[in-house]
C-alpha cells in the first residue's frame, strides 16, 4: 500500500471549558492519499473544524498523532495551506502582494515572487484586479485570492474550513467548479470542511460524516459518480438521502 499523505491516528482533543473538560473529538482515525478530495461533514460541535485545525497545526492533539508523509505535524507550515471562511487576507496588501506573500515570506528572490504571483493571479482570473486591495473585492474574489495564495506557496495539502459558506449560491457553485478544475490540474490533496451535504457530494472523492457529543467520525463514504455531478440525477439524490440519514441518525 502507498504511504498516505495524511494519517490521523486515534486523535482525541479535549478543551477545558468553565472548569469542565469538553471532548471536542474522540478517537478519530482518518487516512488520506495524495490527490484525494475529502469532505468532512457534520453539524456544529462534531469536531470537524477542530480536526482540520489540528491538521493545520493551529491546535495540538490531546491524544494520538497526526502525521504528514509519516512525520508528525508540528505547528503550521506552508505544506498545509489553509483557506478560511472569513478569508484572512492581509488588508494592507494588494491582490498580487497577498498571493506573493508566502513565497516572499519564505525568502524567495523578488523576481521569482513576482512571476509566481502573476501566474496565480491569472489562474484565478483576477488579472484585472491585480492591484486592488481586499476591501475593494467581492466575497468570491477574496476567496479566489485566498486559494491562490496557498497554491502560490506550493501547498501540498489544501485545508478548507467552510470556504464558500459566506458566499451567495451562484458564486458558490462557480467557485466549486473552479476549485475542482484547479484540484485536477494541480493534483492537489484537499481536506474540505462543510455542513452542506450537497456541496460535499458535488466535490468529494470521499465524504467523512461526523457527529457531535462527543465529536467523532461515524461514516466514510466513497463517491464514484463521475464529475461534473448533476445534483438532480437519481444517484446524486440516493447519496444525499443516505448521508442525510447518517447525519440525522446521530443527533
Amino acid at each position: 500500500m502507498v504511504e498516505p499523505i495524511l494519517d490521523v491516528k486515534n486523535v482525541t482533543k479535549r478543551f477545558a471549558f468553565n472548569n469542565e473538560t469538553v471532548t471536542a473529538l474522540a478517537n478519530a482515525n482518518l487516512t488520506i492519499q495524495k490527490g484525494e478530495f475529502v469532505c468532512l461533514i457534520g453539524p456544529s460541535g462534531c469536531g470537524k473544524s477542530t480536526l482540520l485545525r489540528m491538521v493545520a497545526g493551529f491546535e495540538t492533539a490531546s491524544e494520538g498523532e497526526l502525521l504528514m508523509w509519516t512525520k508528525p505535524v508540528q505547528g503550521p507550515g506552508p505544506d498545509r495551506g489553509m483557506v478560511f471562511q472569513d478569508y484572512g487576507l492581509f488588508p494592507w496588501l494588494t491582490v498580487t502582494k497577498n498571493i506573493g506573500f508566502g513565497p516572499a515570506a519564505r525568502g524567495r528572490p523578488a523576481k521569482e515572487v513576482k512571476e509566481t504571483a502573476r501566474r496565480f493571479v491569472e489562474m484565478v482570473g483576477l488579472t484585472r484586479f491585480a492591484d486592488a486591495f481586499p476591501h475593494q473585492l467581492s466575497g468570491g474574489m477574496k476567496q479566489r485570492v485566498a486559494i491562490a495564495r496557498v497554491l502560490a506557496n506550493e501547498a501540498e495539502v489544501v485545508l478548507m474550513d467552510e470556504p464558500f459558506g459566506a458566499l451567495d449560491a451562484m458564486t458558490r457553485e462557480r467557485l466549486q467548479a473552479e476549485l475542482l478544475e484547479i484540484w485536477e490540474a494541480q493534483k492537489l490533496t484537499v481536506l474540505f470542511v462543510t455542513h452542506a451535504i450537497e456541496e460535499a457530494i458535488v466535490l468529494a472523492d470521499r465524504v467523512v460524516v461526523m457527529s457531535p457529543g462527543p465529536g467523532r467520525i461515524v461514516a466514510d463514504e466513497r463517491i464514484d459518480i463521475p464529475r461534473p455531478r448533476d445534483p438532480t440525477s437519481p444517484e446524486f439524490n440516493e447519496l444525499r438521502r443516505r448521508l442525510s440519514g447518517l447525519l440525522a441518525g446521530h443527533h
Partner: protein, 262 residues
C-alpha cells in the same frame, strides 16, 4: 439625487466665517474706545508683523521668527515623543513583562494634565524654551503611546494564523503582520499627538520664553496690543490646520488600503 455643483462645499464653508467677519466689523469699527480692534486694523497689523512697512515698531517683521520658533518646538517635541512612544507602545503592547512593569505607572500618570507639569518642568528645565519643548513632548506622548498599544494588541488573530500557515517565522511576524495591521491606530495616535503639540506649544511659550507665537501673544497682551493677540491666534489656527491637513494627506496615502481611511 441631483448632483451638487463643485463650488457648493467651499461656498458653504466660507459663508460662516465671512458672516462672522462682517459682524465683527460692524461691532467694532468707528468706535473710539473699542477694546477689540476692527478686522481691517488686524489685517494691517498682520501684514506689518509679517513683512513690515506699516508701523515699523518693535513687532514689525517678527512673525516669521516667532512662527518658526513655535514650529520647530512643536515638531521637535512631537518627533521626540513619537521616537519614544512608538517603540515603547509596541513593547508594552506585545511583551507581557514590560506591560506588567510599565503600564500601571503610565496609566496613573496619564490623567495629570500637561499644564499641571508646568511648575515642575520649569524647575527641572528652567524658564525658557526647554520647558516648552518638554511640555509638547508630554502632550504628544500619551496619544501616540495609547493608540500604539491599542493597535499592536488588537491585530485580528486570524492574520497570525494566515501568516503562520504561509511560512512566516515567529520572529518575522512582528514586521510582517503586527506592524502593518496596527498602522491605522498608530496613525490616529500620531495625528492626535500632532494636534495636541500645537495646543501645548502655545501654553508652553507663555512662560518666560522670548520667541514663539505663544510668547508674542503674551507680550502683546501685556502691552494691550489686542490686534497682535488676534494675529497670533489666527496664525496658530492656520498653521495647525495646515499641519493637520498635511498629516491627513500622508495618512490617506499610507492607509490607502483601509476602507476607513484611503
Amino acid at each position: 439625487m441631483t448632483q451638487q455643483p463643485a463650488w457648493r462645499g467651499p461656498a458653504l464653508a466660507a459663508a460662516f466665517p465671512l458672516l462672522a467677519l462682517v459682524a465683527w466689523h460692524f461691532a467694532t469699527s468707528g468706535r473710539a474706545y473699542s477694546l477689540i480692534p476692527p478686522p481691517w486694523e488686524v489685517w494691517l497689523e498682520l501684514r506689518d508683523l509679517a513683512v513690515g512697512g506699516i508701523y515699523d515698531d518693535a513687532f514689525s517683521e517678527t512673525l516669521g521668527t516667532h512662527a518658526l520658533a513655535s514650529m520647530s518646538r512643536a515638531y521637535g517635541g512631537f518627533g521626540l515623543a513619537a521616537l519614544v512612544a512608538l517603540p515603547l507602545g509596541m513593547l508594552i503592547g506585545r511583551v507581557e513583562i514590560i506591560r506588567a512593569m510599565l503600564d500601571p505607572t503610565l496609566q496613573l500618570l496619564r490623567p495629570v494634565p500637561v499644564t499641571a507639569w508646568l511648575p515642575l518642568a520649569m524647575i527641572v528645565f528652567g524658564l525658557g524654551p526647554r520647558s516648552a519643548f518638554f511640555l509638547v513632548f508630554l502632550g504628544a506622548f500619551y496619544p501616540i503611546l495609547i493608540n500604539t498599544i491599542f493597535g499592536v494588541r488588537s491585530v485580528e488573530p486570524r492574520l497570525f494564523e494566515a501568516a503562520a500557515m504561509l511560512g512566516v517565522s515567529p520572529s518575522a511576524t512582528f514586521a510582517k503582520v503586527v506592524l502593518p495591521a496596527s498602522l491605522p491606530s498608530i496613525f490616529t495616535g500620531l495625528r492626535l499627538g500632532l494636534g495636541l503639540s500645537w495646543v501645548v506649544i502655545v501654553v508652553g511659550e507663555m512662560t518666560g520664553v522670548q520667541t514663539g507665537l505663544g510668547a508674542i501673544i503674551m507680550e502683546a497682551r501685556q502691552l494691550s496690543r489686542t490686534d497682535i493677540v488676534i494675529c497670533g491666534m489666527a496664525v496658530i489656527g492656520v498653521l495647525g490646520f495646515a499641519s493637520d491637513k498635511l498629516i491627513m494627506l500622508f495618512g490617506q496615502w499610507l492607509l490607502r488600503w483601509s476602507p476607513q481611511h484611503g
